[in-house]
Each structure stands twice: as structure tokens, then as C-alpha cells.
Symmetry: C2
Subunit: 280 residues, 2 copies
């Protein structure tokens, strides 16, 4: 179990009753994976949370149960977030699907750029969903045939899919993100994101979700990114280093040993799937 | 351009000012694809909408423009929904990502089972996202390597991925949906969905999104579904035929020739990717 430090929360823009809530993140214990998108939101807002992983099997099994008698509807896959309200466990809610958890917490913890139906929030939601689409495509470069097979048993197909991912899919997503940063950059006193933020003029859940994907891509495809970075200057000189270096609590977490390293999750580094070094 | 008939809208549970809004769906003209999830929502609520497709290139190009001067942020991919409010085009919003459009319209048109942060809506959102995950996996059975290549150029990989999809992935998703229907079935006067609805006791955007996916699976994998149907009785005897047969306006649309047939979109029928006939 890894819990965020019990430091004071920063000012909230939304519900004050969030203080009465306890957040339990249910996920795998050894990989950043999809759970990391949620962890970053807790860390950026200095929100205490309890990490329930497969060392605490009972609670995980309870959430994954499909019994019609359980209080919450069935969960398809982890991560799941259990939100407990002080004093009434029957009001617990269980949320799953990564982007849905991220948006839910965005509204609860002041990381949404507007109300749920606002143009700004709908933009943040689109960005979070698109980030996860890219993450799934990055995953499928090493598992293009089956999640039930080892990489080694689908390596030929992986090489073919990874080549397409690097030449066609990845640039399409990065181009989109650069265009979003440019659209939102504004200033000469119209302010907005200045290349640092995707939506509006401050950090939102969309930034954190995208940051984690870009970080994962650095791990998985370092050679490819090294070649492509110059094409996306706002992304790689403002946005990505900005969140890593300048945001107090999230950058401290990123630099800490509490953050799980990438390994054999969604983002994996197989040199033969990356661009060959020096291959322009 | 295909527009829904200008019949009276049914009672709304949300914003009355929706009457002042004009909905423009931007999508491809010849396939149901991701646009069809949105069309079903308009049809089920008898909401007039304008279909802007690639015959009307100017508006599509305007939405896909990445110019920093355009009023709305860049769209990554279609479908997109332009929402115009009477009298002020500068307040137009443009929404993309299929499930986000579906949820947005759910709240506007009375097809959301609760407010955005409610447990019921978060459940509907999870279901819509999971349905699209399955749709993407169905798509990837015929394009496991690259969207830029013809099926024929990735046919060997397709056969391998489709075999895994049918034996492993598809049953996992269908089992989840059956469990959700069972969890929500209730009654003996606790009411709720009775196998007909996924969330609560009436139609929601989650039902329509899932219905379209199940219908697409019938088109793509008829032999596989024929064998598996008995394992998921609520899904295949209550939910799927229920929406098709019993909901006035959506069933009329489904039976009409306005609905585009499946063909070469996300769901495709290649006999060699389906279970062999009679192969149990």
C-alpha cells in the first residue's frame, strides 16, 4: 500500500464535501499502467488516497465480484476507484474506466477546466480519451495479436505493427497535441495555456493524462522520439518539461521513488520495436 | 444529408433550452461507423439533427482545421458534433470522441440516468467506454497491423487476431454485459432494468451504444454469436431484441432504410475471420 503524504490539500474550486470522502484506488501493485493516470491526479492535488492492490485481495475481489447482491454494478477491468463517504458505506460508489475516473476526480478535486457540460471540460475529456487511445495503440505494438500470448509469440507481428505505429500513428497523435497546444497558447495578454497547458490557463486532468502517455512513449520508443521531437516544439519544450519541472506537488512525486518505473505494462521498451539508433 | 423527421420531441428530463440548439453531426457519409452511435441517440429522442458529411466538405474542413484562429479547439477525428445556439455562432461548441458526444447528448436530451457525477451516470459512462473498447477490438480483427493497409495485406495476422478475439476477448465482454444486466434486473417490485436496460429502469445512452455494438457483432461474426448466444440469456433474449422491437422511435429508425447498412467500417464480415459454420 502506497499512500500520498498527508500534507495539506491545495485550494479547491469544486465541492467542499470532498473532504468527507475517502478514495481507494484498486489496481495492480507492480506497474504504473492505467493506475498511474489516477495517481498523478491525487498527487497533483495532494489528496490522500489508499492504494488497494493485489496484496489486499479481499477488497479487490469484492469490487470485481459480479454478484447481483453486491451494492455496486460490476466492474469490467481495473483500475477502479472506490469513493467512500464518511459514515455511510452504503453510499460508496465504485467507478471504473480510466478516463472516467480521471474526469470524476477532476471535478471533485479542482482539476477540471469547467463544469461537466462546458466546452472546456468537453475538450479536456476528448483529450483524455485520445491520450488513452494512443496508449492502447502503444500497448498493441507489443501485443498486436493477443493479450493472452507472450510477446515472443507475436514478435513478428509486433515488428510490423510497431513500424506502422512509429511512422503513421504516432506522428498523427503528436501533431494533434501540438495543434491543441498552439490553439490554446494565445497570450499577448489573452493569456491561456502558453504551451504549458492543453485547456485554459492552468493544470487540468487532461494535462496529467497526456503527460503520462508522453512519458511512457519516451520509455518505450526513445529513438523514435529523439528524432521526432523537433517537429513538436510546444509539446517537447513547454508542455512535457513544464509539468515535470514546475508543478510543485506533481513534480515532487515524479522525482520520488514512490512512483513506479515503467516495465512490462502498457509501455514497454523492446529495442527491436523502436527506430534503429541513428536511423533518420 | 439525412435529417430525422421533424416529429415532436419526447419529454425531456434536462435542459429546456435544448430547443434553442441545432445539432450538426459531422461524419462519413457511407458507413454507420462511429457516427451511428450518435444517430441512435437523436433517433431515440426524436431530436432533429443535420448530418454534415463529406459531400459538404467546407464545414467538415472547417471543423478539422487546426488553425489557432478558429473558434473551437482542434478535433482529432470524426465524428464531431457542432452545437449551435440560436443567434450566436460564436458560442458554437464542437465536441469529439464518440462516447463524449453520446454522454453530452444524454444529459441534454434526457438519456442520461443521472447527473454527470452521479453513480448511475458514471456507470453509464463506463459502459459506453467499454462498448467502444470492444468495437475497436472488433475493428482490429480485420486491421491488426495498420489502418493504412488493405485487409488483404494483413490477412494472416487478421486470422490470428480474430481467433483470439472470438475465443478470449468477445466472451469476456459479453460476460460483463450479462452480469450488468443481471445486477440491474432486480424486480419483484424493486423494479430497475428487468434485463431490458443496463442502468436504472429506462433507456440511456449506454443502452444505445451497446446495442449498436451487439448489432455490429451480429453482422461481423454471425456464426460465433449463434454459438455463444445461449450463454448470455438476458443479453440476447431481453436487451438486444427489446431495444430493436419495443422502443417506438428507435425501432422505427432501425427498421427504416435511413439507417446505413454495415459494410466496410468498424464491423466487417469476412467469413474466414468468423467461426466456421457448424464448428462448435
Amino acid at each position: 500500500m502506497a499512500a500520498a503524504p498527508p500534507s495539506p490539500k491545495r485550494a479547491r474550486t469544486s465541492k467542499d464535501d470532498a473532504d468527507d470522502k475517502t478514495y481507494h484506488l484498486l489496481y495492480h501493485p507492480t506497474i504504473p499502467g492505467r493506475g498511474e493516470f489516477i495517481r498523478l491526479i491525487f498527487e497533483a492535488t495532494q489528496t490522500p488516497y489508499v492504494e488497494v492492490n493485489q496484496k489486499s485481495k479481499d477488497e479487490v475481489y469484492a469490487v470485481l465480484s459480479t454478484s447481483p447482491e453486491q451494492p455496486h454494478p460490476p466492474v469490467y477491468a481495473l483500475p477502479a476507484l472506490r469513493v467512500s463517504t464518511k459514515g455511510s458505506s452504503s453510499d460508496d460508489i465504485v467507478i471504473s474506466q480510466t478516463t472516467s475516473i480521471a474526469e470524476y476526480l477532476g471535478h471533485e478535486l479542482g482539476l477540471a477546466p469547467g463544469g461537466p457540460q462546458s466546452a472546456a471540460n468537453l475538450h479536456a475529456r476528448q483529450l483524455a480519451l485520445t491520450a488513452l487511445d494512443l496508449a492502447v495503440e502503444a500497448h498493441d505494438t507489443h501485443h498486436p495479436i493477443s493479450m493472452m500470448l507472450y510477446y515472443e509469440d507475436q514478435k513478428a507481428e509486433s515488428k510490423r505493427r510497431a513500424a506502422d505505429f512509429r511512422s503513421s500513428r504516432l506522428p498523427r497523435f503528436l501533431k494533434h497535441l501540438e495543434a491543441v497546444l498552439a490553439w490554446n497558447a494565445v497570450d499577448a495578454d489573452g493569456r491561456r495555456g502558453k504551451g504549458r497547458y492543453l485547456v485554459g490557463d492552468k493544470l487540468s486532468y487532461a494535462d496529467l493524462v497526456w503527460w503520462q502517455v508522453i512519458d511512457g512513449l519516451h520509455f518505450a520508443f526513445p529513438n523514435e522520439l529523439a528524432v521526432r521531437k523537433p517537429d513538436y516544439p510546444l509539446l517537447f519544450t513547454k508542455f512535457y518539461p513544464g509539468i515535470k519541472d514546475d508543478e510543485g506537488s506533481v513534480s515532487a512525486y515524479i522525482a520520488s521513488d514512490r512512483r513506479l518505473p515503467f516495465g512490462d505494462g502498457m509501455f514497454r521498451h523492446y529495442p527491436e520495436l523502436d527506430r534503429e539508433s541513428g536511423d533518420a
